[in-house]
C-alpha cells in the first residue's frame, strides 16, 4: 500500500479539469466516521467558495435520493477507511454512471469504493495519531485544490504550509494528553449518557465521538448537537453533574462554544472541555485557516479520551454486538 503524497492531490483536480473545466458542484459522500471525516473539507468549501455549490450526504441517502444536480459538472468525493462499505461503493458507482468525476478516499488500495473511482487517494492510518488524521487532512486539501483551481483561493499557499506542519503538531499535542484523558475517564465512567457538543468544522467530530466512540464502541447512550442550537432546546437538560464534553474551537465559532461552556459551568455540570486553543494553532497556521484545523487537532485528542474510558470501563473499543458479526 502506497500512501498518496499530498503534493499529488493538485494533479487529480487538474486532470479532472482538463476533461471538464466547468466544475459547478462538489459532493462529499460517506458513512459513519468516514462521513464525519469528510465534513471539514465540505465545511471549508461551503465557507469559502463563491460559486461552487457543495453538499455532504450519508451514502445511502445519496444513492436512494440522488440530488438532481449530480452530473458531468460534479466532483463526487467518497470515503471509506476499509473501502468496503457497500453503501459508499454503490454511491461511487452511481456517481460515475451519472457522469460525475469520482475520487475515492480510502486506506485500502483496490477496495470496493475504488472500483468505479476515476481517482483513488490512499491515506495513512496505523502508525500514529497524526496518521489517523491523514484522511481528514487529505480531504481538506482536495477541497482547497478544487477551490483554488476553479475560483482561486487567496490562502492556498498558507493552506499547503499548514497541512505540512500539522502532522508534527498533532503528534506533539497528544504526548501530554493522557493524564487529562485519564481524569475524564474516571469522572465519566458511570455516566448513563454523555452529551457531546461543538460547532463549526468540528461539529461532526462531536458527532463521531458521540455516535462511534461512545455509542458504538462503549455502548453508552450519547446525544450530540451544535452549540448554536444548544440554547434552543437541549440546554434544558443542564443540571448539576449532567455529563458534558465540549470540543472548543479556536476559530470563528469559538463564541458559540464559549457561550455553551459558560452556561454549563454556571449550573455545575460535569464538564470536560477539549480546547483547540491549548495547542496554539493560531501560531502555527494562518489565522484564516484555524477554523478548518480545529477538528484536525481536537479529533486525535478526543480519541485518547475514548481510549482511556475504554480502559477504565474494561470495555475495549473493538468490542461489538452487531457490527461485522451479523447481516444487516
Amino acid at each position: 500500500m502506497k500512501v498518496t503524497e499530498n503534493s499529488k492531490l493538485n494533479q487529480i483536480i487538474a486532470e479532472i479539469r482538463n476533461v471538464q473545466p466547468e466544475i459547478s458542484t462538489v459532493y462529499f459522500v460517506g458513512c459513519g466516521a468516514s462521513r464525519a471525516d469528510l465534513y471539514p473539507g465540505y465545511y471549508f468549501l461551503n465557507n469559502n467558495a463563491k460559486k461552487i455549490r457543495t453538499s455532504i450526504h450519508t451514502a445511502n441517502e445519496f444513492v436512494y435520493a440522488t440530488p438532481a444536480a449530480v452530473n458531468e459538472n460534479s466532483i463526487v468525493i467518497t470515503c471509506s477507511l476499509g473501502g468496503g462499505t457497500p453503501e459508499t461503493a454503490a454511491a461511487t458507482t452511481l456517481a460515475k454512471n451519472k457522469g460525475a468525476h469520482t475520487i475515492a478516499v480510502t486506506h485500502t488500495e483496490g477496495s470496493a469504493i475504488t472500483k468505479d473511482a476515476d481517482y483513488t487517494v490512499i491515506f495513512d492510518w496505523e502508525d500514529s495519531y497524526s496518521a489517523k488524521m491523514d484522511k481528514m487532512i487529505k480531504v481538506l486539501l482536495l477541497a482547497a485544490e478544487i477551490l483554488n483551481q476553479t475560483e482561486e483561493y487567496e490562502k492556498y499557499d498558507e493552506m499547503l504550509k499548514a497541512a505540512e506542519k500539522i502532522y508534527s503538531v498533532i503528534d506533539n499535542a497528544v504526548k501530554s494528553v493522557v493524564p487529562e484523558a485519564k481524569a475524564f475517564a474516571e469522572k465519566y465512567q458511570d455516566a448513563p449518557i454523555i452529551y457531546v457538543t461543538s460547532s463549526g468544522a468540528t461539529q461532526e467530530v462531536a458527532w463521531a465521538f458521540s455516535s462511534c466512540l461512545m455509542m458504538e464502541m462503549q455502548w453508552i447512550p450519547s446525544s450530540t448537537f451544535n452549540t448554536g442550537d444548544f440554547f434552543h432546546g437541549p440546554f434544558e437538560m443542564v443540571e448539576k453533574d449532567a455529563p458534558y464534553l465540549l470540543f472548543m474551537n479556536e476559530g470563528r465559532t469559538r463564541a458559540l462554544d464559549a457561550r455553551a461552556m459558560t452556561f454549563m459551568q454556571r449550573f455545575d455540570c460535569k464538564l470536560t472541555v477539549i480546547d483547540a486553543k491549548d495547542y496554539a494553532l493560531a501560531g502555527i497556521v494562518d489565522s484564516a485557516l484555524v477554523d478548518y484545523f480545529d477538528p484536525i487537532i481536537i479529533s486525535p485528542i478526543a480519541r485518547i479520551y475514548a481510549e482511556q474510558i475504554a480502559i477504565v470501563r474494561n470495555h475495549p473499543l473493538t468490542k461489538r454486538r452487531y457490527m461485522w458479526k451479523l447481516e444487516y
Binding site: C31, G32, A33, R35, N46, N47, N48, A49, K51, R53, S55, T58, A59, N60, E61, Y64, A65, P67, A68, A69, T85, E87, P192, I193, S199, G200, A208, S210, S211, M215, E216, M217, W219, P221, S222, S223, T224, F225, N226, G228, D229, F231, H232, G233, P234, F235, E236, M237, V238, R252, T253, A255, L256, R259, F263, R320, R321, Y322, M323, Y328
Partner: protein, 317 residues
C-alpha cells in the same frame, strides 16, 4: 413577492437561517432545493454559525430566509449580516419583532403548536412552499400544480392523522413514562422532524434524554446501544428513502424489544399527496403530530408540564 424579487435580480442561492426548532423547520424547504434544483444552491445554518462564520458566497444574488417566532437575538443578528452582504432578506415570523423590521420582506406563519393553526401555514410549510415557488420561477418545477394541491389538502390530512394517532400515542406514552433515554430515528426528508422531536419536544419540553440518529448512520455506530430494553421512536418516511427506514426497522424488530415504536407516514395519510412530490411532505405531517399528540401524551404520563422551562426565557444566556 417572489416575482418582484426575481424581476430585480438573479437569485443564485438560498440560505435558510434560524435556531433550534425553527432551524429544523427550514429543513423541508432546503431538502427540496438541495435535491431538485439543478443550479440553485441551498444551504441551512443555525443562526450563530451564520453570524460568526458567514459563508463568502452570500451577496446580492442570495435570498436569505430567516425564521423566528418572536425575534431570537442571534437570528436578528444573522438577518443584519445577510442584509449587509447585499442579500434579499425575508422574515418568517409569528410576532412582529426586530427581525421583521430588519428584513426586506416578511411572511407571517402559524405555529405548529396550536390546534387552531392551519398546518399548510406553519414555518416549515411556508418554507417548503417558498422553495417550490422559487424553483418554479427560476428553473421550472414540473409538479408545481400537484404540490399546490398538496398544500390545499394538508390540514385536512393532518387532522385525520391526529385522530388516527390518539390511542396509539397514549399507549406509547404509557409505555415510556419512566424512560430515561428515548432515541429517535429518521432519515431523508424526515430527518429534521426527528431532530425537532428530539431536541425541542423530548429534551427541551420534557427533560428526557434523546439522541437523534439518521437511519443510515444507525448501522455505522449507534446501533450498538440497542438491546431489548432500548426505547426507540422510528419515523418511516414515504418516498425514495423509505427502504432506508425499513432497513432500520428490520434490524430493530430482530434485536430490539417492546419499546421499539414506529410511526409510518403512510398511516398518516401521505399517500393522499401526488406520488411525485409526496416525499417532500413527510415532515409536514410528522412534526405537528409528534409535537401535538406524542409529546403532549408523554407530558401527561410523565407528569412533566411541557409549558414550563428551567432556563429558556428565564435565565440570561
Amino acid at each position: 413577492m417572489l416575482e418582484e424579487i426575481l424581476s430585480k435580480r438573479e437569485i443564485k442561492n438560498v440560505v435558510w437561517v434560524a435556531a433550534g426548532g425553527s432551524n429544523g423547520g427550514n429543513y423541508p424547504g432546503h431538502y427540496f432545493l438541495d435535491h431538485e434544483a439543478k443550479k440553485l444552491q441551498s444551504q441551512m445554518y443555525t443562526s450563530n454559525e451564520f453570524v460568526y462564520a458567514t459563508p463568502k458566497y452570500v451577496n446580492k444574488n442570495t435570498l436569505a430566509i430567516i425564521v423566528s417566532m418572536r425575534g431570537t437575538p442571534e437570528t436578528c443578528q444573522a438577518a443584519k449580516i445577510a442584509k449587509e452582504k447585499g442579500a434579499v432578506t425575508m422574515a418568517l415570523y409569528v410576532d412582529e419583532s426586530e427581525l421583521t423590521e430588519i428584513c426586506d420582506y416578511k411572511i407571517a406563519y402559524e405555529s405548529i403548536m396550536f390546534d387552531e393553526s392551519d398546518q399548510s401555514k406553519t414555518n416549515a410549510a411556508v418554507g417548503l412552499r417558498l422553495a417550490m415557488e422559487i424553483l418554479k420561477e427560476t428553473e421550472g418545477f414540473a409538479y408545481y400544480k400537484e404540490a399546490v394541491h398538496a398544500f390545499e389538502i394538508l390540514d385536512k390530512i393532518y387532522n385525520k392523522a391526529k385522530k388516527y394517532c390518539l390511542t396509539l400515542a397514549k399507549d406509547w406514552a404509557e409505555l415510556n413514562k419512566s424512560e430515561k433515554v428515548i432515541s429517535v430515528l429518521a432519515s431523508g426528508p424526515s430527518y429534521a422532524a426527528g431532530y425537532i422531536f428530539s431536541i425541542c419536544n423530548i429534551m427541551e419540553m420534557l427533560q428526557i434524554v434523546s439522541p437523534v440518529i439518521n437511519c443510515c448512520e444507525f448501522f455505522h455506530g449507534p446501533f450498538e446501544i440497542l438491546d431489548e430494553n432500548t426505547s426507540v421512536f422510528l419515523l418511516i418516511s414515504e418516498g425514495r428513502t423509505r427502504p432506508l427506514d425499513e432497513r432500520a426497522l428490520d434490524f430493530l424488530k430482530k434485536h430490539g424489544g417492546k419499546k421499539v415504536y414506529t410511526l409510518d407516514a403512510r398511516d398518516l395519510g401521505i399517500l393522499s399527496f401526488d406520488e411525485h412530490i409526496r416525499e417532500y411532505f413527510n415532515h409536514l405531517l410528522f412534526a405537528p403530530i409528534l409535537n401535538n399528540v406524542y409529546m403532549k401524551d408523554l407530558s401527561v404520563t410523565t407528569g412533566v408540564d411541557y409549558t414550563t422551562r428551567k432556563y429558556m426565557w428565564k435565565e440570561k444566556y
